[in-house]
Symmetry: C2
Subunit: 507 residues, 2 copies
């Protein structure tokens, strides 16, 4: 028989354990991609069984007593580790805390209700039927509060803070509250000022319908321009655009092609290409390990918004994009002239829908959800009172009242899916994107001219070592300060939107 | 806090454990499908890491001491179980025996060498380079023999029999040896007789090249004709046709489109549609459980060959297919006339390649591999002597000598992949297909007329309850006897090939 294998040390053992869970998670992400893009509809039941099995096995791997004991053993020898290894160990412990804090049957009960509630929501939204949503959501909320309380105790956080920590470690209420208060004061008067100025613009020529094939061709060219290897990425169509994490070397994201609204696929492609580039640039040596994951959802969203909003709507990039649209989309070239594109894309909307909101209004849509979540988690707001509270706060922040629940509190799937504490990163990501982009363009003068040539290399050469390659091997606060010279604030975002919407050349 | 969940009984616990492993296996099958059909080439490393993690976690689930203890506890209460549950438990124990018999590091070493050897084989085959293949294959063979010896001891089988049992429980050497001896004596003179008769046929009109799009359209129509739900299956192109098991409600298989050889995709589509129908009809109540899996590779192959060979090359089905080819493929309709199709498809080949062999020669290609595997496992044949032994036996069985190793002992990937004991099912499946089909058409007179209408319903109505829905809830021997009235033999196959190739109307 063979010789016995040498016994790995405690650190190697926990790395293997958590990396195994990371690989199972990567498998789940890929199966989710398949479910959204290729799976025959009859496969839903079998797929949900496979996903549940993967979830259960992963939870056992990283949340068990054995995992905790192994971690303690590795932590006892942390002095002997390299700094990156210690950071990896810290992230493992964080994952363990989240997994171990909650009894398995409570977590399973949450998954089950969330699964059912998503189906209820899908029917309730078009019917503006809050009543049928409210009961099961109250149940889900009650379990979520129970889970949050258990985690809060171990993490030393508020209950809501413990939920945010799942998605965005290092970005707590103490960081979010002043930023959102600042934005809630700053944005409404800015919006009024921009609206007054845009009232004087000539009406834009409307974009024509563009076939899915032509939109797909442009999406592909944009992904290549961004820097994705033409041999190693794929873009598929899906109802909700997303990118696939944890899959080094295998870049996949989705977009949505709406023939009547060709800009949508362009924005979604740039957004997801940004998420995907972050994942693609994570350090291969820490692949599948907790320390090798993206730092959190605020940083992730900063990477997608940098491409979609900061770079993707810059005068320079639109100068590259507009002739490309003329060439790829065809029709009357005057429609795709730079001035008409700017005239269309820079206009503030009157939308009630978060995902279709303009760059300035967007954070207000998020702040609304954040405040309601805080009140729901603290018990200050009852589920039955959500529609009224939503409309009241929307009117206060955005100056108009949603005409329906489908355009109001039933618009997003997040709550039905049990995602509470997830929303804030959408607006925090806007702040970080502006702060990173401002510093990047100051440090590297060729970034903006590069965008004018459709060349993202100077931009990624700046951001890759400062953000992507640091993965979760440093804290959120350190990453931001090291990259931009100071903590996260609203300053750069404010300068950015004033410059773009009030100072820059207009169409 | 919640009430504690009631403690499940021992049987429910092992069912959950093994079904979880079954779901992980289903996830692996789907990720393998993705790797063969959609994955960017850069994803190979990440995917192999994910697959290895799934393999390791599954092996722990079903091969651990804890699993063995749980099984023993459930076996102690077997009296209280229904017959199907007892059968399920028997299959769990069988999986445990295979998983537990082999130390983890030996199994991992086998996977590693097999991974490397497949890459070596891919290069060595076109270069006819046996020397670079031989060294690592000898190493793989040595580990395989070690694994086989460990399993043989627990199973009370020969080493080679233990390997066969992995793929085909209930089909051992005692069943295979007399069948193969019989075929090795019967087929060569039959081939000579058929050849002499076919020498008098007029030369067929050659088929023209057909575009991939038209071939894909026909493949889709055939899958629907076979009975797959148009909303719930997909066919993709892949270099090696296969179907995806363990995925109830989500029917996927692949075919290969060769523009110069349109019959290839038709045969492959029917073959894989047959495998897929078996999987689709397995009892949903035992989904993902060992007892709910297909009975083994001989039964599986009987289901694919029934469609490809028995039904798919019948005079009746070709009468349905030939106008469909004329309509879908276009060009000169005379080429697609029934007589020309029969004239082409019924001809015996002169091939050296197993996967391209005709219906009569095919078992001889398999017998060759079986005998060499027996000799390799017993140590009677050294790896270095494979090329000579191959050519000698090929000449004896098929009357000609392979002109190259690529057309000889290097043609198949199986040995490089560590699949030893897998080949026999290809020929045993031919026997079972003929025996089942003979009985089915005798029991149900509308099967053949149905095929003439492109309607497989009468056929599947016969086979579904007798084969598919029995899953692994009965033994191979019982399944065969219950369905056909006797044990597996060569009789029906002999009658079938004599009828089709000597007695039926000729072109």
């Amino acid at each position: 028989m063979n010789k016995p294998a040498p016994q790995p040390d405690a650190f190697a053992r926990v790395v293997h354990r958590f990396a195994t869970a990371g690989k199972l998670s990567a498998a789940q992400m890929m199966l989710n991609w398949d479910a959204q893009t290729h799976m025959p509809s009859g496969g839903a039941w079998a797929r949900s069984e496979q996903m549940a099995a993967l979830t259960e096995v992963s939870a056992d791997l990283i949340g068990s007593t054995a995992a905790g004991d192994e971690l303690a053993e590795a932590e006892a020898m942390a002095n002997a580790l390299e700094p990156d290894e210690r950071a990896d160990l810290t992230e493992m412990r964080r994952q363990w805390v989240h997994a171990a804090a909650v009894p398995k049957d409570i977590q399973a009960a949450k998954s089950r209700i969330a699964q059912q509630l998503q189906a209820i929501w899908t029917r309730a939204k078009p019917e503006n039927d809050f009543a049928s949503f409210a009961g099961p959501f109250a149940e889900l909320l009650s379990i979520t509060r129970e889970i949050a309380a258990a985690k809060a105790q171990v993490l030393g956080a508020t209950a809501y803070g413990a939920m945010i920590d799942e998605y965005d470690p290092g970005v707590g209420e103490a960081m979010i509250d002043p930023i959102f208060a600042d934005l809630a004061a700053f944005l409404p008067p800015l919006i009024a000022e921009v609206r007054a100025r845009q009232a004087g613009w000539a009406a834009p020529m409307p974009f024509p319908a563009v076939s899915v094939e032509r939109q797909a061709a442009l999406s592909h060219r944009l992904a290549v321009a961004v820097g994705h290897d033409p041999d190693n990425f794929r873009i598929d169509a899906a109802p909700h655009p997303f990118s696939v994490p944890h899959s080094p070397g295998d870049v996949r994201f989705t977009t949505r092609y709406d023939e009547a609204n060709p800009p949508f696929s362009i924005h979604a492609t740039l957004h997801e290409a940004g998420h995907a580039m972050y994942e693609a640039n994570l350090p291969r040596g820490f692949a599948f390990r907790p320390g090798g994951e993206a730092r959190g959802m605020t940083v992730h969203e900063s990477q997608s918004l940098s491409l979609e909003m900061l770079a993707g709507r810059s005068q320079e990039f639109l100068g590259f994009l507009s002739p490309l649209m003329a060439e790829t989309f065809g029709g009357d070239p005057a429609v795709w002239a730079l001035s008409n594109v700017v005239n269309t894309w820079r206009r503030l909307d009157n939308d009630y829908i978060r995902v279709e909101a303009d760059e300035i209004s967007y954070p207000l849509h998020v702040i609304l959800r954040y405040r309601l979540e805080q009140a729901l988690m603290s018990g200050d707001l009852a589920v039955a009172d959500i529609p009224g509270a939503w409309n009241e706060l929307f009117t206060k922040l955005l100056g108009r009242t949603p005409p329906s629940l489908a355009q109001g509190c039933l618009q997003d799937i997040h709550w039905a899916a049990g995602l509470i504490g997830y929303f804030p990163n959408y607006a925090m990501g806007s702040m970080l994107a502006a702060q990173l982009f401002e510093r990047a363009t100051a440090d590297e003068p060729d970034i903006l001219p590069g965008l004018g040539r459709g060349d993202f290399t100077p931009y990624f050469n700046w951001v890759r070592p400062r953000v992507h390659q640091r993965a979760s091997l440093t804290s959120f606060a350190t990453l931001v300060t090291d990259a931009t010279g100071g903590p996260l604030s609203t300053d750069a975002f404010k300068r950015h939107v004033r410059r773009r919407y009030l100072e820059e050349a207009q169409p």
